[in-house]
Amino acid sequence: MSDAPALHVEGLTKAYDDLIALHPLDLEVPAGQSVALIGHNGSGKSTFLRMVAGLLDPSAGDVEIAGFDLTEVEARATTSYLPDDPVLYDDLSLREHADYVSRLHGGDGWDDYAESLCERLGLAERIDDLPARFSRGLRQKSAIVLALVRPFSLLLVDEPFVGLDLPGKEVLLELLDEVHGDGAATLVATHDPAYVDRVDRSLALRDGEVIFDGTASVEQVLHLVGG
């Protein structure tokens, strides 16, 4: 399975009654490739990511992750999803969250890497606090820790910079580069045109259809999405 692409999508479609949120989409992301997903609000970026993450049922089409069908446990073990709305338990501290998520994925729980992530994101003092008492930005940083604290070879990131301060944004960009450097494929949906300079490939969506797939400059992106 080592030669299998990180993500293979064929005819993936999502429709809500008569509204088509994503037209049939074919896509292949090789292992280790970094991809930026760009487009307006409602262009289908989040819908696509949530379907690949397994949170939305496709209306049609197939998704394979590292050669495994999306419904297989191996696909879930391989994919990490960082949503734009941090979802955290009210009754677990940040340390307990990280410990729990790591163990769910077969890890040893809270370790040095988790601790270093918290330090880099400025959460070192809040490790034993309940995220329910965190601000929006701190919750987003907690979600970043949970997405990275477990093993994966495909990272799906939806609007990662929302709610982050400038240092937090810079750390996240560094972390995404490191993850990419370690060989994981990344798929990042963003409104930030500058991000396309850091990735191998850009994919532009408009009204649920792919309008560009390749290497794009910031100017091209602004032209494509009308920014």
Binding site: L56, Y81, L92, L104
Partner: protein, 613 residues
């Protein structure tokens, strides 16, 4: 990750979370809630038990129970299966926490292990509720039917558990197999129709009738009744087997809505509960209305808006209203034949239907910003919404009347049935309007500061009054029945009409309350504020200042008449002590009174409008 490893990690999580939750529990509050719940439950059971005191049924009626009881109880079973299949096709019956969906179900743990735990816990709770409700229903049946109390208690509880098991198992199965909504409705609907046909006698015995036979075991033991609990057990086990197929999309949507709905229930915000339930059921208005809009400019825009709203009712809402009318009609038949407590079922069914009829008014309440922009008082706008609510509700009442008087079995006479249908529809509309308009209790309310017992009584009153209004709509039928039994003089129809006239007065009062509710609230809020100790102290201080000013003026006048000069040492000291004159204070510049929201001081209600103080 193996099943054992998954189970171990999840067990650790549950342990950690339980520890945090137990630490956060306020034990006094929890015990107090148990105490209040216990008292309310006992009061309800005693009241309802006392009400079912109409004496033993006749031999003929007992034969009817033996012949038709299983089919009638089977209808209840079919309804549970229908509801279960529908809920399952929408991702139910599990209401998971959102973090569980995101972290647990997206991780490589066995989904069956992750989902069966919450499923068993939910089933355990529902089974306890089903057993309790069944046992109480058994005790109520004992008041009119032969048998011993223990038999009725056990059989009632067993039947309650069976109904819950079948509904829950079917829901799990539909959810696990991702049964489409239309298929769930089709299968459940066919079963429901078969059960209904069995009652009427036009179809052969429905399978649900065999399950229903268990419910009347104290009257007639049919061994086939034992199949019910077995079937329920099988349904639950099969459902548990397939639970890992639950759609995460449906689970996440359900998770968010159920959480909001629980919060709305704690706030007693019925309107929000209704809206969320519709979202949960994915019940959306039709984009293409059943009837086209009139082209010319309507004379009565509010009424026209209401008609447009009703014209967009989805088919599921129409089916629900018709079903409620049928339930109300069948209940009226039962009342007519002596089972008086069925007035509660008839009233509640009609009230539920009327809540749908009050949707245009509910939309107005949901969007106060828009309503406030109209150049008409809110109360007037609300009153103009009442005709459409009344019309739809009375039409539903007439449908219930038709079911009550339908020529099968021994129905109600057409005259009393139609009069009762009108009254029931009218009063159900009143109940629904009160429910919708009263909304959730104010977050800052002086009465909420009183003892919990008084506040609790008020809560019960707020909750029970609207359906009680609808139940009052069955009084014409009671009057007509009394007339038929020779208890009172006028013939049945005039007796029913007389009561309906009185009830019309109640409807007019409700209309008046809707029109002048804001004024009444403003008046009561002002009265309450005037009675507050802070306000009383401020008033006394003002009076004291006024008295001192008058004395100072009199003194100054006396000195002037006596020819004493105002200058001098004494005068200076006096001026320093004397408060400024009324005129001087009147000239003091003050901030202009501006309309809008005020708040922030402990003595004043937060968020109340200045013009409503």
């Amino acid at each position: 990750m193996t099943v054992e490893q998954s189970a171990a990690v999840l067990a650790d999580l549950r342990r950690a979370r339980r520890k945090q939750r137990v630490a956060a529990i306020h034990w006094v509050d929890a015990l107090y809630q148990v105490y209040v719940t216990g008292i309310v439950s006992v009061v309800i059971i005693v009241l309802v038990s006392g009400w079912v005191g109409d004496g033993d049924v006749s031999a003929g009626a007992l034969a009817d129970v033996r012949d038709h009881g299983p089919a009638v109880m089977g209808l209840l079973v079919a309804l549970a299966i229908f509801s279960g299949l529908r809920a399952g096709s929408r991702g139910g019956p599990l209401a998971l926490e959102k973090p569980d969906v995101r972290h647990v179900l997206l991780s490589p743990v066995d989904r069956g292990v992750a989902l069966r735990g919450p499923a068993w816990r939910q089933l355990r709770f529902l089974t306890a509720v089903g057993a309790a409700v069944g046992a109480v229903a058994g005790q109520l049946a004992l008041r009119r039917l032969p048998g011993n109390p223990l038999e009725w208690l056990l059989v009632g509880a067993a039947f309650g558990v069976t109904v819950v098991g079948l509904g829950f198992g079917c829901a799990l199965l539909a959810s696990g197999l991702k049964l489409p909504g239309w298929a769930a409705s089709l299968v459940g609907g066919l079963l429901l129709a078969w059960a209904a046909g069995d009652i009427v006698g036009s179809l052969p015995a429905s399978p649900t009738s065999f399950v229903g036979a268990l419910a009347i075991w104290p009257v007639h033991v049919d061994p086939l009744g034992a199949a019910g609990p077995v079937l329920a057990g099988v349904a639950v086990l099969v459902g548990m087997r397939f639970v890992d197929g639950t759609s995460l999309e449906a689970a996440e949507r359900r998770t968010a809505l159920v959480g909001q709905m629980r919060f709305a229930v704690t706030l007693q915000d019925l309107r929000t509960v209704l809206v969320l339930r519709r979202q949960l059921a994915q019940e959306k208005p039709r984009s293409r209305p059943w009837i086209p809009a009139i082209r010319r400019h309507p004379h009565w825009p509010v009424l026209h808006r209401g008609v447009r709203s009703v014209a967009r009712w989805p088919i599921s809402r129409i089916v629900r209203v018709v079903l409620m009318a049928v339930i109300a009609g069948l209940s009226l038949r039962g009342v007519w034949h002596g089972t008086t407590p069925l007035v509660i079922l008839a009233g509640i069914a009609m009230w539920v239907a009327a809540l749908d009829a009050a949707e245009p008014l509910g939309q107005e309440i949901d969007h106060p910003g828009r309503t406030d922009q109209f150049p008409i008082e809110r109360g007037v706008v609300f009153v103009r919404h009442l005709p459409i609510t009344l019309l739809v509700s009375i039409a539903t009442g007439l449908l219930a009347a038709a079911v009550a008087a339908a020529p099968f079995g021994d129905g109600v006479g057409w005259g009393p049935a139609l009069v009762t249908g009108v009254a029931l529809g009218m009063l159900a509309a009143c109940g629904a309007v009160v429910s919708v308009v009263q909304g959730a209790p104010d977050p800052v309310d002086t009465l909420s500061m009183v003892t919990p017992e008084i506040a609790g009584t008020r809560t019960v009153y707020r909750t029970a009054f609207p359906p009680a209004l609808a139940v009052a709509g069955t009084l014409p039928l009671i009057a007509a029945r009394a007339s038929v039994r020779g208890i009172q003089d006028p013939p049945p129809v005039p007796a029913a009409v007389n009561v309906t006239m009185v009830l019309t007065g109640v409807a007019v009062l409700v209309g008046g309350w809707v029109r002048f509710r804001d004024d009444i609230h403003g008046f009561m809020a002002e009265a309450a504020e005037n009675m507050s100790p802070t306000k009383a102290a401020e008033r006394m201080a003002e009076e004291r200042r006024g008295e001192e000013e008058r004395e100072a003026d009199v003194l100054a006048e006396s000195r002037r008449i006596a020819g004493l000069d105002d200058d001098g040492e004494d005068q200076g000291a006096g001026a320093a002590k004397r408060p400024p004159s009324r005129q001087a204070r009147a000239k003091k510049p003050t901030a202009p009174s501006t309309p809008g929201v005020r708040g922030g001081t402990s003595a004043k209600p937060i968020g109340r409008r200045r013009d409503q103080k």
